[in-house]
């Protein structure tokens, strides 16, 4: 194989080379042995398959992946440190920005933690609204995953179908909260606004239509023969390994481990709702896709129940104007679209938290990637990475 080089460092004029220390121009990479056919392939931070600024350095043997070294931190903003210098209310919009696809689930986890610290009871209506919003958010997030995954697999049409349906949800969320992605809708004790008047009419319309659209998407992409051939038996991770990597959410459930925060660490009104937890058989890429499709169906069932039982009442509890929780610590977790979103909040009795630690599902799910990928082909790399549904700001925070 011909000697393939990165960049043009050797051809740069001496002055240009002199201005920057050579070591910082090219990051040293683990070198492949000279005798084999192995070579290094740098994927990202600018690559369409990484869905964000993520970088993996892959050691390839022809088209086969030998090893993979992930590099993260390109969008690290030091949010946890920032939290220590913000009041409890000021932190809420930051939680949106850890995962722009599930802002509501992040709001939910954080706000619930603060309420637990305060010992605040929220009205029943608020709980219903939260569940409604969280499930809508889950469907929107899964739809975006489906769209982006379709693109990864070379199918462009499901992308637009999924976006058509997602747009309806986003429009509903926008009308309620004023924001489309970073909604900043939750407040300690409730919501900033009540639901708009025609919310349920729109939701009913959506529920009536979406079941069919979902079947259509399922047939078009997930049940497609080419898709099944590319994902069945590819990127398998067993139950024990998945648990030991701390995987959660659809990625864990695909590996035949029925863990769902909504059922196993119950919160809000979920214990009173009836829904099933779809569990995959083999833990391969196809199972991860199937679990998400099924979860959307379950979310629809939850939405119907929450809509039927929706009570009258206030959209906000009587919370103190200045939030000063008593000293103590709390861990609050909810089931986000990607898995368990946890906030560990330590209060020292002032208006600002002493420490906030975020447990983010994408980080743990991503950590299993090298083990899943070893020995697969480069085309599988894209298929597997997409199936983990990574959101890079959530990995980096």
């Amino acid at each position: 194989m011909r000697n393939v080089t990165f960049g043009n460092r050797d051809k740069m004029p001496p002055t240009a080379r002199g201005t920057v220390p050579a070591a910082t121009v090219v990051q040293p990479l683990p070198s492949a042995s000279a005798t084999s056919d192995e070579f290094l392939l740098n994927i990202g931070p600018q690559h369409p398959a990484t869905h964000g600024v993520l970088r993996v350095v892959v050691t390839m043997d022809g088209e086969v992946v030998k090893d993979i070294v992930p590099h993260i931190g390109y969008v690290h903003r030091g949010l946890e440190k920032l939290f220590e210098n913000r009041t409890y209310e000021q932190i809420i919009p930051f939680t949106d920005r850890t995962d722009y696809l599930s802002a509501i689930a992040n709001n939910f986890a954080y706000v619930r933690g603060v309420e637990m610290l305060l010992g605040l009871e929220v009205p029943r209506k608020v709980e219903y609204m939260r569940v409604l919003m969280a499930e809508l958010n889950r469907i929107a997030s899964h739809l975006l995953w489906l769209a982006a995954y379709g693109l990864d697999m070379g199918a462009f049409t499901p992308f637009l179908y999924a976006f058509r349906d997602r747009e309806e949800i986003v429009a509903m969320i926008e009308e309620a909260s004023g924001g489309r992605l970073t909604t900043n809708y939750f407040r300690v004790g409730g919501f900033v606004h009540d639901l708009p008047k025609d919310f349920f009419a729109r939701l009913r319309k959506f529920l009536a239509r979406f079941g069919k659209a979902l079947n259509e998407l399922d047939t078009l992409l997930v049940e497609n023969a080419i898709f099944v051939a590319r994902t069945r038996g590819v990127g398998v991770i067993g139950k024990e390994r998945a648990v030991s990597y701390g995987m959660t959410g659809p990625c864990l459930r695909a590996s035949n481990a029925a863990f769902d925060v909504r059922r196993d660490m119950p919160y809000s009104i979920y214990p009173s709702l009836e829904f099933e937890i779809p569990v995959g058989r083999n833990g391969d890429t196809w199972d991860r896709s199937w679990v998400r499709i099924e979860e959307m169906r379950q979310s629809l069932a939850i939405l119907r129940q929450a809509m039927e039982g929706f009570p009258e009442g206030e959209h906000r509890a009587r919370a103190p104007r200045n939030i000063e929780p008593p000293a103590g610590e709390v861990y609050s977790a909810v089931e986000g679209p990607r898995g368990e979103i946890g906030f560990y909040i330590v209060s020292d009795g002032t208006r600002k938290p002493y420490r906030v630690k975020m447990r983010k599902p994408s980080f743990s799910n991503f950590s299993a990637l090298p083990e899943i990928l070893r020995g697969l082909k480069i085309a599988d790399l894209v298929a597997v990475m997409g199936s983990l549904d990574l959101v890079v700001p959530e990995i980096d925070r």
Partner: protein, 351 residues
């Protein structure tokens, strides 16, 4: 006058023959070498093919974008010209004025030649393509072989482009493309062979005339599907677009190409799309033959119908994986093509 118009639309062969004979006679009378006239005639064909290539690309790119938009509940281009039909022209203008970037580490000569190699192989296919009665630059007696041989040439340009870019993604794209085109050439050849058996000739003009009114598609339904699949793979279009897969290889062999060099690849790709349709129409759908409408119209209608099928397929399916792609060719298409050829041969002998 009416006679002339009838000839112009329906008997182009008569018209062209008359014109050529008259020109020959007048040159011979003046004592000029007739060879030069023949060369001029061929240059005229080349110019006509070049014009068609450009116009067809303008149309077919717009057609694909509009059709894809319909499939995907969008509107597609609708700003430049009526129904956005001039969008491609605007894009071409943009491509022309963009900076032409050649990477430092690239093999400059090969890098520059690669797009032209691909376009040239595409352009050469027009030599044997019958657009209507007598509307063919040279109806070679080995037309079918010529089509297969030249059709496979584009792989050299693609491989050269991937190699010369000196980029790992491009190289992998080029190598995939080489493997893919070579493997799908085999079932294509075997399928086309059964057509040659039925027609008893390798000359495309004869093949068109030998077909029953409904074309060979009813006699060779499996052959048509095989040919459609194989040619779809040979022109690197979805679901066989692995050499330039966006999500893995970041456009594969065209990653490093920009401006006009990229546009030439693009032009060749869409001309290849048309040619795949045109040859499928010629070999299986009766070519330019058909009632009422002029032969050229029939030819274009049939060709663009096949193009429509290919576009429909592209925007419906996800992409295959590279090993599935190879397995599909060697384990599914090849045995089918062989069986098809065998049955055709037996039936031709018996009947």
């Amino acid at each position: 006058m009416g006679h002339f118009l009838y000839d112009l639309f329906y008997r182009t062969d008569v018209l062209l023959d008359a014109w050529r004979t008259a020109a020959h006679q007048s040159w011979a009378m003046r004592g000029w070498p007739v060879v030069i006239l023949d060369v001029l005639f061929q240059l005229g064909w080349a110019a006509a093919a070049a014009v068609f290539l450009a116009v067809n690309a303008l149309f077919i790119i717009w057609f694909e974008r509009k059709l894809a938009a319909r499939i995907q509940i969008r509107r597609g281009p609708n700003r430049v010209g009526p129904w956005g039909i001039l969008q491609t022209l605007a894009d071409t203008g943009k491509m022309l004025i963009k900076e032409d970037i050649i990477p430092d580490a690239a093999d400059r000569g090969v890098f520059k030649a690669a797009p032209l190699m691909v376009l040239a192989s595409t352009f050469l296919l027009f030599v044997v393509l019958p657009f209507g009665r007598g509307l063919v630059p040279a109806d070679l007696n080995v037309g079918l072989l010529y089509f297969l041989a030249i059709g496979g040439l584009s792989v050299i340009g693609i491989l050269a482009g991937g190699w010369a870019s000196n980029n790992k993604y491009s190289l992998m794209g080029g190598m995939r493309s080489a493997a893919q085109i070579v493997s799908y050439e085999v079932p294509a050849v075997l399928t086309v062979l059964s057509i040659a058996l039925l027609a008893g000739s390798l000359k495309l003009g004869d093949i068109v005339r030998a077909q029953p009114a409904f074309g060979y598609i009813l006699l060779q339904p499996v052959g048509f599907l095989l040919f459609l699949t194989a040619s779809n793979a040979e022109i690197n279009r979805g679901p066989f677009d692995l050499p330039e897969s966006d999500s893995e290889l970041v456009s594969g062999f065209v990653t490093e190409y920009s401006a006009m060099r990229f546009a030439i690849f693009f032009l060749a790709e869409y001309t290849n799309l048309f040619l795949a349709g045109a040859f499928a129409a010629t070999l299986f759908l009766g070519g330019w033959r058909g009632p009422l409408l002029p032969p050229v119209a029939w030819f274009l209608i049939k060709s663009y119908f096949v193009v429509f099928l290919l576009i429909w397929i592209r925007w419906t399916f996800p992409r295959l994986r590279v090993d599935h792609l190879m397995a599909f060719s060697w384990k599914v298409l090849l045995p089918l093509a062989l069986a098809n050829l065998f049955i055709t041969a037996v039936l031709v002998k018996v009947l």
